[in-house]
Amino acid sequence: MAESFKDKVAIIGMGCSKFGENWDMGSEDMVVDATYDALADAGIEMKDIDAAWVGTIGFHGTGTGMTSTGITGAAISMPLKLQYKPVTHVENGCATGTDALRNAAFAVAAKVYDIVLVVGVEKLKDTGFGGLGELAIPPHPVFEGGITAPGMYALAATRYFKKYGLTPEEGKRMLAKVSVKSHYNASRNPRAHLRNVITEEQVINAPVIAWPLGLFDCCGVTDGAAAAILCRAEDAKKFKDNYVLIKGLGLSIGPGQGSIRTDYDFTIWDETVYASKEAYAMAGIKNPRKEIDLVECHDCFSISEVIAVESLGLCERGKARADIESGAWTQEGEIPVNLSGGLKAFGHPIGASGCREAFEIYQQLLGRAEDKTRRLKNPRMGLVHNQAGLPGKFMCAVAIYGLP
């Protein structure tokens, strides 16, 4: 019979490459940088790794949008020169990073391996065009083709405004506050991609990408990699004193029926509800808003953060506006969200994001965030929300990390 996974696996080292438009780095360079960072942090060498998991969608900007083009474990074995070690490639869209970590953790807990490496990586800026282009999930000649991620997320914004009685102006102002916070947080994070401080007026007056979302409602297009070293909790102390434990994991892959069923209203992420329920149950969390100290959520767009926080049960449905206006999601607030700058401003290299979000929680829990002013006071538990797909057809991974 399945038993609780809580506190079985430890993260003993993490690393993160430079995030940004890394014109001078290929995915191989970023894999090397993030992995060697993580090894140094764990105090181990490459030869100590028993097995590895790589999370990447292998983005090439092909006509079908986000499709993998025959990516394998060699994506990290070759640059790292892993000497014939087992490497598994995991892909679950933008939820890839957390799912790679999840599968690696299962292998460690099953005592198949003692020490494993997880690398999430994406190189987005080799396509020759801005944005991520158009997508159809799954690829189809015409059905739901010729549209983009901001276009699809904007559907949620339109209906959210309508459902909760916000005029487009009020709705856009609410969303602007989210982006202003993300940029402010990133401005104090030396590792973030977009570190400029912005104003609400700038957000509201920015060019429209997909009405009602403007330029500053959308995350940047970023290259990056993040890596983690895992071992069983009981072995962690052999390596170091300060480490983080996996408290809960949840994964929900939606059947994609939001664009088929008329009862889906685009103002809630059902997959997030399911994935977080699984993770909360595993972690023994009853009141997430009280028990969780910080959240890194999937804010590819400003509206994504709003609905993610509500779907995670961290805020009552339809009440995000009040939270945003009271500053509940800021560093000083009740439940800080995306202290790193989030996908919005730290960056969103697709396959890397889940690991990068874990990196922020790890740094915060260990009190190591580079800029001291952005360190939370004694956080015990953080949540990663890592989501792929589009409203109505998501894949969502939730991970809860905490101190021993």
Partner: protein, 473 residues
């Protein structure tokens, strides 16, 4: 046995370009009026589906035994277009379909063939549709003249709204306007020659033929519907043959729709029938590579098909094309400097596998829980029953716009792409794009309807699919 028209339908695209827009662009004298311009996602094939659907409003499509499609601008040069239209409008499989291409007279060629088929007893009901979307050379007389549109008639031997009392035809080698395989635009010989020896001479000849054969005179007709070369010659020929242009001559549509090629005379006839009363007699004459003439008698059942959009309602529902640049873009006349972008995806095999929902707009209705879903599924989205569905056509349902966004990042000749989630009346949801829309006038919960469009080109294929548009009044 009386043979005639059971129903009619027409289509005029939403966009109109004022001739002053052309004049401003080229610095030439402004003509009067405007022309209908197909949206960027329309072509002769999609417009033919529109007029056909209008024509078949309220009628049982399973009773139709054939479809002829006339056009000089087929979407495919090799590959029958009529068979695609038949699939889109959801006709039976055991029917006859054919394209009548290459002549602006193709519409009446097809009409005559359909009439003959019904007379011969090989078909009971035959749909004939004509559509053209001719791209004229920039800054040419044809650019001021050509417009886009379509008409359709259902031919049969019962419930006739219009009885065809007689007809004559001429075939002529006469060359006036032509386009070779390698030509991008139509060419023409000197106008005085082609009007004098072509248009005027052939109309005189065919009309005197039909007068002689059926012993009729201009006084026997309530209305005359003549193919129009241009407005001046249209009036000239009517006068010359003894008709009163003020009371008898059906408007050419040249100043409202433009010259729609093989659809022109057919569309004029639809406009005439919209105003006709039972007992009226109409002389219907088409021209091109010869001529056709028909004597039509309007019958009582015409009162039963007054709800067609036809010409009048389509004309009333309009949007102004804002600039000549937009028009060039719509017709893909120039190479456009846009940012590098990946190729569009296409796979003929996928489109073929999905043809029942892609073309015929079929959804699935679950036999277990009764809910409707689009596209067709193997496992029910609601109750998870497997392979237990009935196929139902959704394209004739209305819908409500549940939510939308306006995507500027997606590549389109007409940004923004209006992404739309539509709840279909009676059940089902359609994740689609809004076309023929005014971006200032879109709101959640507005009523929309289905329209068949050319979505994009990929792998050398026109990729067609359904979209939605705000309901055209």
């Amino acid at each position: 046995m009386a043979v005639g028209m059971i129903s009619y339908g027409a289509y005029v695209p939403m966009y109109r370009m004022n001739l002053q827009t052309l004049a401003r662009n080229w610095g030439s004298p402004a003509g009067k009026g405007e022309k209908a311009v197909a949206n960027w996602d329309e072509d002769s094939l999609t417009m033919a589906t529109e007029s056909s659907v209008d024509c078949l409003n309220g009628l049982d499509r399973s009773m139709i035994d054939g479809l002829y499609f006339a056009t000089t601008t087929p979407a495919y040069r090799e590959k029958q277009n009529a068979s695609i239209i038949a699939k889109v409008i959801d006709l039976r499989r055991d029917i006859t379909t054919a394209d009548f291409a290459n002549s602006v007279r193709g519409g009446t060629n097809a009409l005559k063939a359909a009439i003959d088929a019904v007379k011969a007893g090989s078909a009971k009901r035959f749909l004939v549709t004509a559509a053209d979307c001719r791209v004229p050379a920039p800054d040419s007389q044809f650019e001021r003249l050509f417009g886009d549109g379509s008409a359709a008639f259902l031919i049969g031997d019962s419930d006739l709204a219009v009885e065809i009392e007689g007809s004559v035809s001429i075939s002529s080698e006469f060359m006036d306007i032509w386009k070779r395989e390698e030509d991008r635009y139509v060419q023409a010989w000197e106008e005085r020659f082609i009007v004098t020896k072509g248009y005027l001479a052939h109309l005189e000849e065919i009309i005197s033929m039909i007068f002689k054969k059926y012993k009729v005179t201009p006084k026997d007709f309530t209305k005359v519907v003549f193919y129009a070369f241009d407005q001046r010659r249209h009036l000239e020929i009517a006068k010359k043959l003894g008709f009163d242009p003020a009371t008898q001559l059906q408007d050419s549509l040249l100043s409202t729709v433009g010259h729609t090629g093989s659809a022109q005379a057919m569309m004029m006839l639809v406009a005439a029938l919209e105003e006709a009363k039972p007992g009226d007699r109409i002389l219907f004459v088409n021209y091109g590579d010869g001529a056709d003439a028909f004597i039509l008698k309007v019958c009582d059942p015409i009162e039963k098909i007054r709800d067609r959009r036809g010409i009048k309602k389509n004309l009333a529902s309009r949007m102004e094309l804002p600039s000549y640049g937009k028009y060039l873009h719509f017709r893909n006349i120039l190479d456009w400097g846009r940012q590098r972008e990946p190729e569009r995806f296409g796979a003929l095999t996928m489109s073929w596998r999905d043809r029942n929902w892609l073309l015929s707009c079929h959804g699935h209705k679950c036999r277990q829980c009764g809910t409707i879903q689009f596209p067709m599924q193997r496992v029910c989205t609601w109750c998870q029953a497997k392979d237990d569905f009935d196929e139902i056509r959704l394209s004739d349902k209305k819908g409500t716009l549940f939510t939308y966004s306006m995507d500027n990042l997606a590549t389109s000749v007409d940004k923004p792409t209006v992404i739309a989630i539509v709840n279909i009346a009676g059940g089902g949801r359609f994740s689609t794009v809004l076309t023929d829309r005014d971006t200032e006038k879109i709101n959640p919960d507005m009523p929309v309807e289905f329209t068949f469009r050319r979505v994009h080109e990929a792998q050398g294929i026109h990729n067609y699919f359904w979209k939605c548009r705000p309901v055209r009044a």
